[in-house]
């Protein structure tokens, strides 16, 4: 958690990232930037999913709909914050010549999405059978 505190300080003192170590090859920094943007798009997709659930599933009870939408929006926020955190840590590691930070986040996100997808399949099947 102290790692997180440290990167949090870096978020708000951006100059300190530049002061440390050596400037890496610009191509590595650009690759890091593209990874950051890819995570940001993932976050935006989750947020868009939150809107979509609210707008395109009007038959669901309000509680279920709002719960799913809030879950997706929360995941989107988490993903966005994690994107900038990981970007800062990678940038810092490259400047110091250290190994890039490893992260459990991709696994966590995939598992959550897989569980939700399986749950959706079950819901769709049951809904379909119940409708007949």
């Amino acid at each position: 958690m102290s790692d997180f505190g440290q990167s949090l300080r870096l978020w708000f003192a951006p100059r300190r990232v530049r002061e440390e170590g050596q400037t890496p090859d610009y191509r590595f920094s650009l690759a890091n930037e593209r990874t950051f943007l890819a995570w940001l798009r993932t976050a935006l997709a989750l947020i868009g999913g939150g809107f979509a659930v609210d707008q395109f599933l009007p038959d669901l009870p309000w509680g279920v709909r709002a719960g799913m939408a809030l879950g997706l929006l929360g995941a989107g926020v988490l993903c966005a914050l994690r994107a900038v955190n990981h970007w800062v840590r990678c940038e810092q590691a490259m400047r110091r010549g250290e190994d890039l930070p490893v992260s459990r986040f991709p696994v966590l996100l995939s598992v959550v999405i897989a569980v939700v997808a399986v749950a959706m399949v079950v819901v769709v099947l049951f809904g379909w059978e119940g409708g007949r």
Partner: protein, 105 residues
């Protein structure tokens, strides 16, 4: 090692520019969905304010992306993304999600 090539053969700045464009597009889709929330017709006053603010943060994101895209095109070896720009982009994204909560609940 002979002469330093003028242009990166891997087109890294170009690819990064396109990544910004894709992200802007993704943000725009989310912002359009936010605007579409008005069509539901059951938004509270706070919800309407949230829709208006979403349009505002969308413009903010466009501005951040535009500046970075321009910066990437100026030199053959652009500088790394500034932490301020990264934070601003994330802040706009988180703000959109926050306004979404106000509309959904």
């Amino acid at each position: 090692m002979t002469a330093v090539p003028e242009r990166d053969p891997g087109l890294q700045p170009e690819r990064t520019r396109l990544a910004w464009r894709r992200t802007t597009l993704a943000y725009t889709v989310a912002a359009v969905l936010a605007a579409r929330q008005v069509a539901g017709g059951d938004l509270s006053a706070a919800g309407l304010v949230a829709v208006a603010l979403s349009a505002l943060v969308w413009l903010g994101f466009l501005w951040v992306a535009h500046r970075r895209v321009r910066e990437l095109g100026v030199r053959p070896r652009p500088r790394a993304l500034s932490a301020g720009a990264a934070l601003a982009a994330v802040a706009c994204t988180v703000a959109l999600a926050g306004f979404a909560v106000a509309m959904v609940v």
